[in-house]
């Protein structure tokens, strides 16, 4: 028997009224796999992450995490929509980093990183601080631990946000266009931290990105989304090197032209 996939989207659909954002998505992600999602805006790529983080509900299908349903729960052998307690139990395995950082502005970098470990995981303050110090060191911001978000650059804020997400020890980490809000010269430092995270931790990573170079170099697999479906997927060398689908070719051509 093969190992359970870390994440499995099983025929998942998302609609807003008459607009279908995702149409019967099937996607499996293996433990430790790094998957990039690319595609034109409006293709539903961010929605994939938001559904997995339970920021959006789904209309059809089931999302599974490590063989357990996330959006549903089993009752009398049947799958029924999950209640909040069940969602929180499964959601604990997932962390997310946002395009707009979303740090807590009334807390220092350190406080941002220890808040949820203390309130949600019930860690002792000293333990949470020790762990946060390690993580802030990993993202290269030990010296900024007592700074408030407003005193940090965009790149620094995003690195704190990565440390904050890691502090909850997720197994799956979601990155939603995490460099899109940054000045070009700050993109590199954030990508470097993600690279490091990929090397040093046994994390499953799913990222929506416009950084084609990074997706090519970092991912095990790239999925090209178009109109709410996966249009083409494969190892980056194949997808970028010899795209089979006409739409993929057009998109890559347009993006590389612009870049």
């Amino acid at each position: 028997m093969t190992e359970q996939p870390m994440v499995r989207f099983d025929n998942v659909s998302k609609r807003y009224g008459a607009l279908t954002v995702l149409d019967g998505l099937n996607l499996e992600i293996a433990r430790g796999e790094k998957v990039s999602i690319i595609g034109p805006s409006g293709s539903g790529k961010t929605t994939v992450l938001r559904m997995l983080m339970t920021l959006e509900t789904i209309n059809d299908g089931v999302i599974w995490v490590e063989g357990q349903p996330l959006t549903h729960m089993e009752r009398n052998g049947k799958l029924v929509p999950a209640d909040l307690a069940h969602i929180r139990k499964i959601r604990a395995k997932i962390g997310m980093v946002f395009q707009s950082f979303n740090l807590f502005p009334h807390m220092t970098a350190m406080q941002n990183c220890i808040e949820a470990p203390i309130t949600v995981l019930g860690m002792k303050r000293a333990d949470a601080e020790a762990r946060a110090a390690e993580l802030l060191d990993m993202v290269g911001l030990s010296e900024k631990k007592d700074h408030y978000p407003s005193q940090l650059s965009g790149g620094q804020q995003q690195r704190v946000a990565i440390a904050r997400a890691c502090a909850m020890r997720p197994k799956i980490m979601l990155f939603d266009e995490v460099t899109s809000a940054l000045d070009p010269e700050l993109v590199g430092e954030v990508l470097e931290v993600i690279r490091k995270l990929g090397r040093e931790h046994d994390l499953t990573m799913l990222m929506v990105t416009h950084q084609m170079g990074f997706a090519k170099e970092f991912s095990d697999r790239v999925c090209f989304f178009h109109a709410g479906k996966i249009c083409e997927q494969g190892p980056p060398a194949e997808l970028f090197g010899a795209p089979k689908n006409e739409r993929t070719r057009q998109f890559l051509h347009a993006v590389l032209e612009a870049g």
């Binding site: 997310m96 946002f98 979303n102 807590f104 502005p105 009334h106 949600v120």
Partner: protein, 242 residues
């Protein structure tokens, strides 16, 4: 207006009171008026505390409570916003006893004014909570916080800053409304003034002092709220991090 200007104004108001008090035509009324002012301050402070509690509770109940609680909170807000404070005072003081519930006048004053202002306050609290960026909620969800944890640790501390100026207005509104309690037998500042005026007809000194005293009290509220606002927004550059 800066805090410095407000403090200057307060000093001037108090200075004028002190200067007037050196004249016998004024000093005669000062002890009685001060006595009334103490009662006014007591009602204003207790009423404000009740208003804060009711405002926060009603807002949270309306936003996140189960249906019956939401309904109850809406009824409370609409009744107390939709009828005048005077009618509420009279109702609690004169009508309720006819149903066998007799409350003393001081308690009625605090209840009526606190509940009245709390109804307005709940809208202030609601608006401030809704003004917190959506990304903050999403970050809380991504960190797997429960709703009470989100509100207590992340959302309310940020909403708090946005609430301070409108609450300042409400506190001053409440302070001035305390004059109504003179109509339910309480000897507050307004009551003392009317009583002295009826006995002596010294309208000018009495109402000049009363005006200055209300002004001084509301300036204290305004200055206090400004200081609170300044303190609360330290380290919180709102919007910048969102």
């Amino acid at each position: 207006m800066g805090i410095r200007t407000l403090v200057t104004l307060l000093i001037v108001a108090l200075g004028v009171i002190a200067a007037l008090a050196t004249q016998e035509a004024y000093s005669l009324f000062l002890p009685g008026l001060l006595q009334g002012a103490v009662l006014t301050i007591e009602i204003a402070i207790l009423g404000s505390l009740l208003a804060i509690v009711m405002g926060v509770l009603a807002a949270l109940a309306r936003m996140y409570g189960p249906a019956p609680l939401r309904w109850l909170a809406t009824v409370y807000v609409e009744i107390f916003r939709g009828t005048s404070a005077l009618v509420q005072l009279f109702w609690l003081f004169f009508v309720l006893p006819q149903f066998g519930v007799t409350l003393n006048a001081f308690l009625v004053a605090v209840l009526a004014l606190g509940l009245n202002v709390g109804a307005y306050g709940s809208e202030v609290v609601r608006g401030a909570i809704q003004s917190v960026a959506r990304g903050q909620w999403e970050a809380c969800t991504a960190l797997n916080m429960s709703r009470p944890q989100m509100l207590r640790r992340i959302i309310l501390p940020q909403a708090f800053v946005a609430m301070i100026p409108p609450w300042g207005n409400l506190f001053i509104e409440l302070l001035k409304s305390t004059a109504l309690v003179s109509l339910i037998t309480l000897s507050d500042l307004a009551f003392k003034a009317q009583q002295m005026n009826q006995n002596t007809f010294k309208t000018i000194p009495i109402f000049t002092l009363v005006l200055l005293m209300y002004l001084a009290m509301s300036l204290v509220v305004t200055i206090g709220m400004r200081l609170l606002e300044r303190r609360a927004s330290l380290g919180l550059a709102r919007g910048k991090a969102a």
